[in-house]
Subunit: 794 residues, 2 copies
């Protein structure tokens, strides 16, 4: 953790339902832009100040809107993608610049008398109040509230109020739509976004009264975006307003004298629309229509709808924690960001950083299916469906890619916005074929958890079949009793292009079986997809004998063939500043050593826990724990989940907090370009799957809850087959060592069959079941690589 992170640690006040800061520190600025970003999954506004500056990355994003850029390879290779996709910072509508007398409102000058910003997790509103004395001596209070509407997908709104704190002043307020704001500079960190220079070309400018629309297009991806603003004004009677517009700028200027006791309020309404097909005029009309609706609703109705939407979300999925208020806050902030990323994507991807920043070029990865969709499936199933629908929509591209690679079925891209492979480094991109099994796993989970037959028949079975076909062509029968999958990369990016990665093979096994089962259940879909009984037999045969390497000498599963024969990394000789290792050591060194970037076999033991005995889990966990450096934000949570399962409750708790504070404490030093949506979702998973012990193998859900010593209670809600379950793990509050119990409740609907630590349980509505929690297994201590032990919270 770097100093910036240490400072950030103190930036936020602990509050169960708000992320709140009173600090103005240039070092916090970019992180606050990310953490205070608002999104509904369609529109994303980074949390930059309305006045525009100071700022670091003042991004505005629309899901699915990207520009292409060449991917130059120093040495060309067959199948290397030649074009990348980069999320575009579209027309910025957040800007409301204020001039107090002759001073621009800018917190870097003058004096800040009071400042607070807070993201309200129940209201879905970013609030802000600043009392400021300008260099010219005028004192002013600025109060703003901002939302990106969960209920009106194309709308955002800002309520902006100005009051004098002295006798008053002349003032000017400029509300902008600004396109092609400057780009950030290129970086050498492969996780950083590729810069675009002025990606938007003006196509249409239209303004009228307090309303303006700018339509722009991109040169290579040939997409078109319309951004519109309108204003509801509450002004002193002598105020003058003017509207100007040109290609890259539309600006409403309000000038007036504001006297003590007077207040100026502007509600700025924003609408965005984009298309690859609709004309500039059609998009302009679309945005104008949305603005007309927004005018009619006004701020209060939009804010009320927003709160109602979130009330329903928390009713379905809240996680309550007693005993660690900061963790409670972090878990809810994390869940809120996941919801924001996924809520209204509606057939667009959920990027690794949501719409909170330009990190990873705005690409979606396997993270979405493996980490994000479990939380959405069990709390906001419509959002999970939207994300899987996006994958289904890209099936033609994935099937073409498979054919290009000489494979059957579909080869989904490692990273993309629009569906085409955008990875420039195939050993950690295209070779990571497990993304296909991850998509299948998420598909099967969504169908099992929702019973959404229609989705299964129109989308799900096809996703399962085409990914199963990939595995059938990618693996080979080395003999009748051995199906190998050679030359692929598993989740751990510090090992690449290996044979029989256990995670990949187990997930492929599940994929093959799920496809066969789905074809049996929906034979008419199977027939449409030309799946023969022979093909299904072959999937089953491959699944039955898929190879799982095992090291008899060490009694552990090698992560992949030969892994445990490799040299050990010299952790003692690796100084803290060498992490993340990939920025300071060549891939070839990382690949040939037993150093693990992120949970790989340990993640397999979570997602495919049914394939390991408890003893194997304990031994494997200890082995990989000593070799996993967590240079990925996707590692702490799987480690927490398995630590909890095998009995390392304190360690699990430490990893939970590491995952939960990933962004609030900037653990990986790159929250500046967006929050980590998958890490945020994995924070939920530690609650539910880790300390709640929830597993969903084969479509059934089971629980094995157990509290860590620090907590007195953990209560979570989740959806299963349109019913809400509540699992409440608690103990005698006066005694942290006291026996624990879990209470299960079902809020409505038919009974649910589940189990508690292996004991079958039938849950019925209004029939609360409380069962004792058995004591944890006794375990030998485990160690982490030198210097990589998680921060102790216990």
């Amino acid at each position: 953790m770097n100093n910036g992170a240490q400072k950030a640690a103190r930036a936020f006040h602990v509050d169960p339902w708000r992320l709140r800061t009173a600090r103005i520190d240039p070092a916090d600025l970019a992180a606050c832009e990310s953490l205070f970003a608002l999104s509904n999954g369609h529109i994303g506004l980074r949390g930059s100040l309305e006045e525009g500056e100071p700022r670091v990355v003042p991004g505005t994003y629309i899901s699915g809107f990207f520009e292409e850029r060449p991917l130059p390879h120093p040495e060309a290779g067959y199948g290397f993608p030649e074009s990348g996709q980069t999320i575009v910072n579209v027309t910025d509508g957040k800007l409301i610049r204020l001039h107090v007398g002759d001073s621009p409102f800018d917190l870097r000058y003058g004096r800040v008398d009071f400042h607070e910003r807070a993201l309200d997790l129940r209201a879905g509103v970013l609030e802000r109040r600043t009392d400021w004395t300008a260099p010219n001596g005028s004192a002013v209070r600025v109060t703003s509230r901002r939302l990106v509407s969960f209920t009106q997908r194309v709308l955002a709104a800002i309520s902006y109020e100005v009051e004098p704190l002295d006798d008053g002043f002349y003032m000017a307020l400029q509300s902008d739509l600004l396109a092609n704001d400057e780009a950030v500079e290129a970086s050498r960190d492969p996780r950083d976004p590729a810069p675009l220079t002025r990606p938007l070309r003006g196509e249409l400018t239209d303004s009228d009264g307090h309303r303006a629309v700018l339509v722009h297009g991109t040169a290579r991806s040939r997409l078109r975006v319309a951004a519109g603003m309108d204003h509801l004004l509450d002004l002193p009677t002598d105020a003058v307003t003017t509207m100007e517009s040109e290609e890259d700028l539309a600006r409403l200027t309000v000038t007036c004298q504001l006297l003590r006791g007077q207040r100026l309020r502007v509600v700025k309404l924003l609408a965005y629309g984009w298309s690859s097909r609709r004309s500039a005029a059609a998009l302009r009309d679309q945005v104008d229509a949305a603005l007309a609706v927004a005018r009619l609703a006004g701020w209060d109705a939009l804010a009320a709808q927003q709160r109602e939407y979130l009330d329903r979300f928390w009713e379905r999925g809240d996680v309550q924690i007693e005993g660690d208020p900061a963790l409670q806050q972090a878990v809810r902030v994390s869940m809120f960001h996941v919801l924001q990323a996924g809520a209204r994507t509606e057939s667009q991807a959920i990027p690794a950083k949501g719409l909170t920043g330009p990190g990873y070029d705005g690409h979606a990865f396997w993270d979405t299916e493996t980490f994000v969709l479990p939380m959405l499936t069990y709390t906001t199933p419509e959002a999970a469906k939207g994300a899987l629908t996006w994958r289904h929509n890209t099936l033609p591209t994935a099937m073409a890619r498979a054919a290009e690679l000489g494979l059957g079925g579909a080869a989904f891209p490692w990273r993309t916005i629009h569906g085409e492979e955008c990875s420039g480094y195939w050993p950690a991109g295209t070779a990571a074929f497990h993304v296909n099994a991850d998509i299948a796993d998420a598909t099967a989970r969504y169908i099992a958890a929702t019973g959404d037959q229609e989705f299964a028949m129109t989308h799900g079975v096809e996703l399962l079949v085409q990914t199963a076909r990939l595995w059938a062509s990618l693996g080979h029968f080395a003999s009748e009793d051995c199906f190998r999958i050679d030359g692929v990369t598993g989740p751990d990016e510090y090992t690449a292009v290996v044979d029989d990665n256990v995670f990949t093979n187990l997930m492929a096994q599940r994929n093959l079986r799920a496809a066969a089962e789905a074809c049996t259940r929906w034979p008419e879909v199977a027939a449409r997809l030309e799946v023969s009984p022979h093909e299904m037999d072959r999937w089953q045969a491959a699944a039955d004998v898929v190879r799982l390497p095992y090291d008899d000498k060490l009694g552990v599963h090698p992560q992949s063939e030969g892994f445990t024969d490799h040299g050990e990394w010299d952790f003692e000789a690796t100084p803290p500043e060498d992490y993340p290792l990939l920025l300071h050591h060549p891939y070839f060194q990382l690949y040939r050593k037993q150093v693990v970037k992120q949970a790989d076999l340990v993640l397999a033991m979570h997602l495919r826990g049914d394939a390991f005995t408890p003893q194997e889990k304990a031994r494997n966990f200890a082995y990989y724990e000593a070799r996993t450096v967590r240079d990925s934000s996707l590692s702490a949570a799987p480690q927490a989940i398995i630590a909890a399962e095998v009995g390392h409750l304190d360690l699990a708790y430490d990893y939970w907090t590491e995952a939960a504070f990933t962004d609030i404490l900037n653990v990986h030093g790159n929250v500046d370009d967006g929050v980590h949506i998958a890490a945020a979702a994995s924070t939920w998973a530690v609650a539910v799957a880790g300390f709640g012990g929830m597993r969903d193998h084969s479509g059934h859900i089971t629980f094995a809850p157990r509290l860590p010593p620090k907590l007195s209670r953990l209560c979570f809600r989740m959806m299963f087959n349109r019913r809400t379950l509540i699992v409440d793990v608690h103990r005698d509050e006066s005694d942290r060592a006291a026996a624990q119990a879990a209470t299960y409740r079902l809020l409505a609907g038919d009974p649910v069959e589940t189990s508690h630590h292996g004991t079958p349980v039938t849950l019925k509505v209004d029939d609360e079941v409380t069962l004792p929690v058995p004591p944890p297994p006794i375990v030998d201590p485990v160690t982490q690589p030198f210097g990589r032990t998680p921060q102790r919270r216990t």
Copy 2:
């Protein structure tokens, strides 16, 4: 073989000492530019016509002169080279444009009445005669001779004669120095060169009388090159000459009326100089001085020196073949090109294509040490010394690279001009660490074959020590009796980043042992390099237990760990146009299958034949023969050598001819951008090591000659410890099935201990030894991948 190659097959007349063509076919043009290229290892002039056009790639190169270019990576990675090096087409001095009356002399117009070009391998001169009738009806004979001097390293010369074949005409002759001639276009074939646009910046122009000098510099590599021309003129008395010069062009124009019976002759003298340090004026003076010397010598003296130099070369190294005149020619052409590439580099690299074209960006690879230096060591040891001196000069860069990669000793680049790693694809670049052992092997071979103690002490031991240090840090002791080298790439580029590649491990073993032996022999050098007895012990210990995977079930060595477990390539389903596979299939498919681009384990069985039993060689050869597609020009010769050893004499012969005709028949379709120097050198190796059975393990040379059925005699000369050996394998000429015998002769010096098919032999001066050749072992037939059987010549 493509149609172009088929046509090329008929392009050249069979002639034991000349490469000769009478054909003018646009399809041959680029290949002729490569095959008729002249070089002394310092200057290279492609074989384009003096008149400049038609042409494809009119290159002029100077060894070591390059421009840098950015290597853009779509995803950055630690240790990825950010700058590449590309050979520069420097100022072209070959141009002599002729205007006959009002027609430019251009073979695409008018009528060609006679045309012949020939590269004379004994004279070292490219000759040409063309009788041409211009569109305007004038008939002219142009005769030219061209040489790049082996004895005067900075000089080239062209003798150019013009005679009327009718009553005569007015004519103009323009002799140019032309810089920044247009570049070729970018290609998607990774073997193709990266284009540079106008890389030369004019710094100085100077002319006087018939002499001109242009000095240019490069922008990024900051090198400077001077090109000068002077002329010896034999003109009609009324001829007028004018000299013009500007930044990128100097031009001598000769105009006259040429009548029947008159002849105009121009001897154009060319001198080149370059430096990273010397000023433009100093380089101008240097070139002027060289031109002054050339004027003094004149054409005849330069040509006489040239022939004398080549006489000595053939005396040391000629290979005589009876029974296949076309092969005889091809072997000599090949040897001539190897000599040209290496003769006078003097501490510059020998590029993969010599100085015959821009292919592979002008980079040198492991090819030089593994394929080219054996021939040079045994025929032109000074040239081998020069190439190794270049490696030694780049040791600081290689040691810095090793440190950057977290390794000890030196990590020599996979491809480079100046010493820095220029590979843009590390799995087939940096990971191919065997280049270091290849350099050590060539070093040890040179020292053993020449007894050059001074080189050993100043250069050789250090090369051995720093490469041994690399292996000591790159490998690890998995246990006391197992030293593994994980995560590296062997010679076969269709398998990458694997554990315990047998070739690499055996070459590393030799490297470690050679370093320890050298340190024992030259303790004062070892002390200077701070080699401790402990370090030497560690090298020996590692060498003694280096891991060699073996597949007990199949009874063969896997090329690398797990290779024989991989899936088989579907050769039957692979159409001919899919070769080379790397242009039509992704790396991940090639890597995870048992498909071999080029001899890897088979090459190990040649270079480290001491590590295999005859039975292992036979089984391994058969196994890899069935999986090797020869998508590299470096494969046929090693396959020929082992085929000959294990007893497949016809197959060995087929591979020999494939190697020998690599360029003449354009087997790999890319002779256009230069001839394949390593394949050319490997053609020599098939004669000497294949059918001559020469091995040089541990510094001793042994022979096991055996003629293929088609040949009646093979006689080769080679140098060993400053002595010339002659090995003459022959049989009763009237009966191809008759018993064979080998006659050994030593031309001068102390006796040489060797062996003939395992029988010790002592060779003394003037003491001819003739021994019978035992019959070949009886062998089972072997097969190649479907469609990849070499063309039958037998």
